[in-house]
């Protein structure tokens, strides 16, 4: 059943792609003469870049500003960044025209299909992006964008447990897996789960051995809600995405979190005199490991589409990606920057090697896929119940 469900979802994403090519859905957004990209083709080969400015939409602190300055110098243009707090906010503001941009820097996999179907992003002309060859090959044909026609990967990370090795035994975490979170009753108030309905409920499902993480079966979602709600009384759970600083600072001991948070935490958030040895990460075995990535794309309404392509290409340059990673802490999907490389270069401590998903783990990974408005709403309504107090 789970396989057919996944097939269905993959097909519905492809359907979305087809829709984006043929049917202008934007009348639905209330506008009449919106930048409809129906049947929009990629830009032609060999165009010279526009004069800019290049307008980027991105989360705060999610790109190294030195990299931006280098790009400005190299192409003689200004770069303007609009920041957003949530993926939904980006979609809403781009759809309404509240933000006009050329590059969407950080599209969630769950949104790309919708952005394509909604005609908000345009197909890419790969001739401007030779550095795509640097990308980890698994991302050549990602589930969210078959053939990577509309997007290039930016960063990727896996979901696991971040913990303090000085307070909880590594072997115990390995043995207990996801149960570690439910068993952390000695650390009341120092336990957190990701502030994301899909991530948190998926954790509860995987704990019960459910690997069809894109299910819309209400009974399974209700069970996940009940399980996650238990954490309120068991461990006085916190709900946030701040483990990257809370674990190093010590206010959180055990957290469901993203692998990149430990790398970022080791690099920048340990108090003076605290060794990065206190940081530990566990993730489920390949096959049950959820790997997520953010992607970059060019907006359909871009005024500087050529420049936008060049920017995507720039970020996929091996050295630029490394420079960006050294500040951002989230691994770029660049083949050269594998675990051996980033450890040897001193970006990641050896004992956090498992924070870098391997090619094998990525190829066997589980992906959180969009479930359609109705399916998503099931998770969202369950989440609203949990955050209301269970």
């Amino acid at each position: 059943m789970s396989a057919s469900r996944r097939d269905f979802l993959a097909r519905s994403t492809q359907l979305g792609v087809l829709l984006g090519a043929g049917v202008p859905l934007l009348q639905a957004c209330g506008g009449d003469d919106k930048k409809t990209s129906s049947g929009k083709d990629p830009i032609a080969d060999g165009l010279s870049p526009e004069k800019g400015p290049l307008r980027i939409i991105n989360y705060a602190d999610y790109v190294n500003l030195e990299v931006i300055a280098d790009f400005e110098a190299e192409y003689g243009v200004k770069v303007e960044i609009s920041t957003i707090d949530t993926d939904t906010e980006a979609t809403t503001k781009l759809a309404s025209g509240a933000i006009k941009a050329d590059v969407h820097h950080s599209m969630a996999g769950t949104s790309i299909g919708n952005l394509i179907a909604g005609g908000l992003i345009q197909p890419l002309n790969r001739s401007y992006i030779p550095n795509f060859a640097n990308v980890i090959s698994t991302f050549n044909d990602p589930w969210y964008d078959p053939g990577a026609r509309y997007s290039v990967p930016y960063t990727f990370f896996g979901t696991g447990i971040g913990f303090r090795t000085d307070r909880i035994d590594r072997a115990l975490v390995d043995e207990q897996g996801w149960d570690t979170i439910w068993n952390a009753t000695d650390f009341k108030g120092e336990v957190s789960v990701l502030d994301d309905e899909r991530e948190a409920f998926t954790m509860a499902m995987l704990r019960r051995g459910v690997t069809d993480i894109n299910t819309t079966d209400q009974a399974i979602i209700d069970q996940a809600l009940a399980d996650v709600s238990e954490l309120i009384d068991l461990v006085n759970v916190k709900v946030n995405i701040e483990a990257y600083k809370d674990i190093p600072e010590g206010t959180t001991t055990v957290a469901q979190t993203w692998s990149a948070d430990l790398i970022a935490g080791a690099a920048g958030y340990l108090p003076e005199g605290v060794s990065d040895e206190v940081l530990g990460f566990w993730h489920p075995p390949a096959g049950e490991y959820v790997v997520t990535n953010d992607s970059m794309g060019v907006l359909a309404a871009a005024e500087s589409p050529v420049l936008a392509h060049l920017y995507l290409n720039y970020l996929l340059d091996n050295e630029v990606a490394e420079k960006n990673f050294s500040w951002v802490g989230y691994l770029p999907a660049i083949a050269k920057l594998d675990a051996d490389y980033v450890i040897a270069a001193g970006y990641v401590p050896e004992h956090l090697r498992n924070c870098v998903p391997t090619a094998d783990e990525i190829s066997k990974a589980l992906f959180l896929k969009p479930l359609g408005a109705e399916g998503d709403a099931k998770y969202e309504d369950a989440w609203a119940r949990f955050t209301a107090g269970g």
Binding site: A117, G118, E197, N236, V239, A377, E380, T387, A388, G389
Partner: protein, 304 residues
């Protein structure tokens, strides 16, 4: 002669009423139309892909399914807990604002003398720092090894209290801290306007200073108290960031504002978010009506 005067005064009234136009324009533009827009979103639909709101501007097309779901949850479901909690937090914060704000406003208005200007400046001072900055400062002060715990440790109290993992009193303290200046200022202006001769008369007639306060000053300051309460509790009901910052997102302290934020900003179910806004507005409207009725009654009593 009298007729001319009357006509003149009438035309003068007409001139003065022009002064109300900007206010009326503001009310129509930023209140009535906005509320209508919220209704259009609540009773409209959402784009299936982009999940953006598709407002239903025509009332004939309004769809009340989401609203009736929300109402069910508010009266019998999980949202009841959230509404009760929100009213409790705001109620407690209001009590705190009165306990802290009244004496300060009273002192500033009636006893501060030459220091009055300085005191008022001090009251406005917190506004120079952004609200979010002040809340972030609190999260530092309230850390397990933060200054607040050190401070209470000096008095022999346990200094290992946790404040930030979903404690209701931290949220209430945060709300009081954030809104008490808004409470003091309107109250101050009412207290300052109280005619000192009333108080003298009270004392002359043999009342003690406490009795005078209770029977003269306090009743005369009720309009100010009411205004100050309205000014503080309305924004408190919609507050969500105080809570988010001070509890690391604990499910134990979720307020209505957090649910609205979730549905409108985090995920795309604008109809549900807007329906919650309308339910909260309806409840606050009842409070507003009570406020207006009492104010009008008081005005009439004063005119008599």
């Amino acid at each position: 002669m009298t007729a001319t005067l009357q006509r003149e005064s009438r035309s003068r009234t007409r001139v003065w009423s022009v002064f109300a136009l900007p206010g009326i324009g503001w009310l129509i533009g930023f209140f009535l139309i906005s509320v209508y827009a919220v209704m259009a979103v609540a009773f409209g639909s959402a784009d299936p892909f982009l999940k953006t709101a598709i407002p239903a501007w025509n009332p004939l097309e309004w769809d009340f399914t989401t609203m009736s779901d929300v109402l069910d949850e508010v009266f019998t479901g999980y949202l009841r807990k959230v509404f009760v909690r929100t009213f409790a937090f705001v109620g407690l914060a209001l009590v705190g604002c009165i306990a802290i704000g009244y004496p300060v406003a009273y002192y500033a208005a009636r006893k501060a003398g030459r220091r009055k200007g300085l005191l008022l400046a001090a009251l406005v001072l917190p506004f120079w720092i952004s609200y979010l900055m002040r809340m972030l400062a609190w999260t530092n002060l309230l850390q397990p090894d933060g200054l607040v715990n050190q401070f209470i440790g000096w008095f022999g109290l346990p200094d290992d209290r946790t404040w930030l993992d979903g404690e209701w009193h931290t949220v209430v303290i945060g709300l009081i801290y954030g809104y008490v200046p808004f409470f003091i200022l309107p109250l101050y202006s009412t207290l300052e306007r109280i005619d000192g001769r009333f108080i003298e008369a009270g004392r002359d007639l043999g009342a003690s200073s406490f009795q005078t306060f209770l029977r003269v000053t306090l009743p005369l300051s009720v309009p100010g108290l009411m205004a100050a309460s309205v000014v503080t509790i309305l924004p408190m009901f919609g507050d969500y960031y105080t809570n988010s910052y001070l509890t690391s997102g604990s499910p134990k302290t979720e307020m209505v504002g957090n649910q609205v934020e979730y549905y409108l900003r985090i995920v795309g179910q604008p109809q549900r978010g807007a329906s919650l806004v309308l339910v909260l507005m309806a409840m606050l409207f009842v409070l507003m009506v009570y406020y207006m009725v009492t104010t009008i009654r008081q005005q009439k009593a004063a005119d008599r």
